[in-house]
């Protein structure tokens, strides 16, 4: 076995990282093509509020002190996701408003909970920026459960998600019940964001959802290829980032995101050098 993996906490981090490196880009493809890249940011901030709430409650109650804050984070995140879909209906012509509303509500709540809990501790710092030493075995199993749910959902709902992302009208004409599919998709996204935060941190979760996609859509032929390439880029970044983080003693979230940025730049250069592929006219 690699020396890197001789400790249990590193195995935990590695396994979780590999799962998150698959999950975040898969959902990210649908989010980016629907032009909702910022939704991941909004949901990660509301997740932080959930985690802060759990840390605060842990001061008073042994139940919450013993609970993994990830669950409270997920509950807040899913609630936020459903709320975003409702807000988008209220502000039909300003759909993007839902995102800053949820984002600021999340930060506001977080700050209040944190100050009530007498300020920052290292635990919270780990959630903000990601830490590979903070991943517990129970986190690995939670993320694994989410992985199974998400892969089943995307596999069986691929057609529907694809057509709704491309053209909602066509989806409705095909008799697709768009509302519940979109709500379910948001809820699943919220779960993945909560699951990813241990590795990349709340402030960087959206990077893992959007940067691999930003790189892949420049070079992919077709939607399926965009998904595969996004996953490939996500995995390369997570694995390389965790190695660098361990051997150079850097924050894992930062190294992963920088790996993503490097891949993104490479894909932009690649496209520049291979040139535009616009085909001839009719």
């Amino acid at each position: 076995m690699l020396p890197f993996l001789k400790y249990e906490f590193l195995q935990n981090a590695f396994l979780t990282g590999i799962m998150v490196g698959l999950l975040a880009p898969v959902l990210g493809v649908f989010i980016v093509v629907r032009r909702q890249a910022l939704i991941a940011d909004a949901l990660s901030h509301i997740t932080l509020a959930g985690i802060a709430a759990n840390l605060l409650l842990g001061k008073w109650s042994s139940f919450f002190a013993a609970a993994n804050p990830i669950y409270m984070g997920m509950a807040f995140s899913v609630g936020g996701a459903i709320f975003i879909e409702q807000l988008r209906k209220v502000y039909k012509h300003y759909e993007e408003l839902a995102i800053p509303i949820i984002m600021s509500a999340g930060i506001g709540l977080s700050v209040i909970f944190i100050s009530m809990a007498d300020g920052f501790n290292t635990d919270l710092f780990n959630y903000l920026f990601g830490s590979i030493i903070a991943v517990k075995r129970s986190d690995v199993w939670t993320v694994f459960a989410i992985l199974v749910v998400v892969l089943l959902f995307v596999f069986f709902m691929y057609k529907e998600l694809f057509v709704l992302s491309f053209d909602e009208e066509q989806g409705k004409l095909s008799g697709i019940r768009s509302n519940w599919i979109l709500v379910a998709f948001m809820a699943i996204t919220a779960l993945v964001i909560a699951a990813s935060m241990k590795i990349v941190g709340i402030l960087l979760v959206s990077a893992l959802m959007t940067l691999p996609v930003a790189a892949s859509i420049r070079i992919a032929k077709g939607f399926k290829q965009a998904i595969w390439l996004s996953v490939l880029f996500g995995e390369i970044s997570v694995i390389a980032g965790m190695f660098l983080s361990y051997y150079l003693d850097l924050a894992s979230g930062g190294t992963i995101v920088l790996c993503l940025v490097v891949i993104l730049c490479l894909s932009i250069f690649y496209k520049k050098f291979t040139g535009s592929r616009k085909v001839g006219h009719l």
Binding site: V33, S174, K221
Partner: protein, 258 residues
């Protein structure tokens, strides 16, 4: 409920639609016969697209009713009988990473159903639809890399892939150069003749359209004229000026005639 129901593809019954206090459609009543090729014309803001959306059940009118193949539109289930190419097809996200093949296959999703996948026979249908619009050699190109006219053909192929009996096109040639739009109209005429399909073409391009369609309807919040192309041409000068308000004359572009 109606004795000639078998021959009517679309029946619009006293339909009114308004956004807030702005009237878009007022008491529109019309029947579109099966096998006809209707050109629906009208100036900007005349409610053409809204009427189409009401016909497709994408918008709910405040008054009136739409029947598709004799069935109330909100009860209608045979959506694979209906192909639709929206105006938005001109302004979709061209950076969307989907191949022409993937876009066309969307047209089958309603037929295939939930939790199911495209079979080999479905894929053959996609190829057939691509061939029918002469775009099969571009199947694996991303949709955004094609020209406007080519994209439009892909959207037609998507509408055709489920073998619809009724094809509705909303301003399909906007943003497409004249040469492409001519060959596009010819293709529609062929589709109409060979498959006995009912076509509804929304356009403001009155002159070119009359070379291809069998019937014309003029809409400006209300239906001002609905009849066959010959009647339309005979009455068109007075009709059109009353209708558009001023000095409109119908230009004929005869290069489309065979």
């Amino acid at each position: 409920m109606n004795n000639n129901i078998g021959s009517i593809a679309i029946r619009v019954d006293d339909l009114s639609f308004h956004y807030g206090d702005k009237n878009v459609l007022q008491h529109v009543t019309m029947e579109i016969k099966k096998g006809s090729f209707l050109g629906l014309v009208g100036p900007n803001g005349s409610g053409k697209s809204t009427l189409i959306k009401c016909i497709l059940g994408l918008q709910k009118p405040q008054e009136g009713q739409v029947y598709l193949f004799g069935e109330k539109v909100n009860k209608f289930n045979d959506w694979d009988k209906v192909g639709y190419v929206s105006q938005k097809a001109n302004s979709f996200n061209t950076a969307f990473p989907a191949t022409a093949f993937e876009v066309v296959s969307m047209g089958l999703f309603g037929k295939v159903g939930l939790f199911r996948f495209l079979k080999a026979s479905d894929k053959n249908k996609v190829w057939e639809a691509l061939r029918s619009v002469k775009m099969d050699q571009y199947a694996y190109q991303n949709i955004g890399e094609l020209s406007g006219g080519q994209q439009q053909r892909i959207f037609i192929a998507r509408a055709l892939v489920s073998d619809p009996e009724l094809l509705i096109l909303d301003e399909p040639t906007v943003g497409v150069d004249t040469e492409s739009s001519d060959s596009f109209y010819k293709m529609l005429k062929e589709l109409h003749r060979e498959n006995n399909m009912t076509l509804v073409l929304v356009t403001h391009d009155v002159g070119v359209m009359t070379n291809y369609v069998t019937d014309v309807a003029c809409l400006n919040k209300q239906i001002h004229f609905h009849g066959n192309t010959k009647e339309f041409e005979e009455s068109s000068s007075e009709n059109m000026s009353a209708f558009y308000g001023h000095h409109v004359h119908v230009l004929h572009h005869d290069h489309g005639h065979e």
